[in-house]
Symmetry: C2
Subunit: 208 residues, 2 copies
């Protein structure tokens, strides 16, 4: 992949560039310069150049970017044409909130299913999406080519769920459980500690 250098902040702006470019009339905007994009979006020109060069190389002098090609490239990087499926294990309050969250589509992501071991939770479809029994996890992931697993179970259950996820084709784990997980080589692990985020904000506040 050529996406190694896309920083998180850049990634956050890509949907904004894409939306703007798609709003243009391509018959009169065959080419587009970083200057024009920066002006239209109220961003710095240097930043726009840097962001776009991370995904698409430099624009051509005087001409800028080919608009259509840039749109295609942004759609590719953002996975708009090929949705990546994720599943959640642990349909408590946080799991359900993430399951119901609508913002993942912007980045070519879909939380396709949620699983829980509690039979009182499974089946419940209070926002139009069903929670499946945990016993179906492996079958579902293999059948649907799921690549991302989101863990929102209590800490003591997280490693077991993590092992089950990586055993059925999942290659990236987003862990909300407050514990350290061991993953096999080649598996991407990202820990999300909401308490720590809030604590960090407090510390910044204290320093003001």
């Amino acid at each position: 992949m050529k996406q190694m250098n896309v920083m998180r902040a850049t990634l956050g702006r890509l949907p904004v560039y894409l939306e703007y470019l798609k709003s243009l009339d391509l018959s009169v905007n065959e080419n587009i310069s970083a200057t024009i994009i920066a002006k239209a979006l109220g961003l710095g020109e240097v930043q726009v150049r840097k962001d776009l060069s991370a995904v698409s190389g430099a624009g051509r002098p005087k001409l800028g970017y080919k608009t259509k090609a840039l749109i295609k490239r942004l759609e590719d990087v953002l996975g708009r044409k090929k949705v990546t499926k994720a599943v959640i294990v642990g349909a408590g309050k946080l799991g359900k909130a993430l399951y119901a969250y609508g913002g993942f589509g912007n980045y070519g992501l879909e939380v396709a299913a949620a699983f829980d071991s509690n039979s009182e939770i499974t089946g419940a479809a209070d926002f139009g999406k069903e929670v499946l029994p945990l016993s179906k996890l492996e079958e579902y992931c293999i059948e649907n080519g799921v690549k991302i697993g989101i863990i929102t179970v209590p800490a003591h259950a997280a490693q077991d769920i993590c092992n089950r996820m990586t055993s059925c084709g999942i290659t990236a784990i987003w862990n909300f459980a407050p514990c350290q997980l061991c993953v096999p080589e080649g598996i991407t692990l990202q820990n999300e500690n909401l308490a720590l985020s809030l604590a960090h904000l407090k510390l910044q506040m204290d320093c003001q």
Copy 2:
């Protein structure tokens, strides 16, 4: 404040140090060295020294730290003796999940109240904590000395809530709404974009 240099990763380890130190018998562990702490917790010695020096200065040669003083310092930095109150506005799925979340106490934080403009949500106490009507926000924050506001409303309503929060003594905002907020000088703003976090994980996975 002397806490300017505490990095997020260090902050995440402080509760671990504190828990370990508090488990010691202080009558036989009047002093403690970074070496012993590192061994007990399976951490690198250099890391432990760096973490502790960020909050408490260097240990004394041969002797290490005074255990009791180090415990006190960690408790201070983590705000254990003086809880900082936060409120949530927007008691949808995510707001409720954060409201019910138990992990903030480790960092001296308490989500003391949640507010919503929807009268069907207010009053509901399905996990023992009540959701208050939005009209009570300012009064509550002033009376309770609330310093942190958590925004989990839709994007279009976020700026108005942010303005109301900063008007009643809140000095730090944790924003989950997918939009840019303007805050007065001196107010700390931290944006949390869950979709972007997942997208970032996917990008890392694609690069493996």
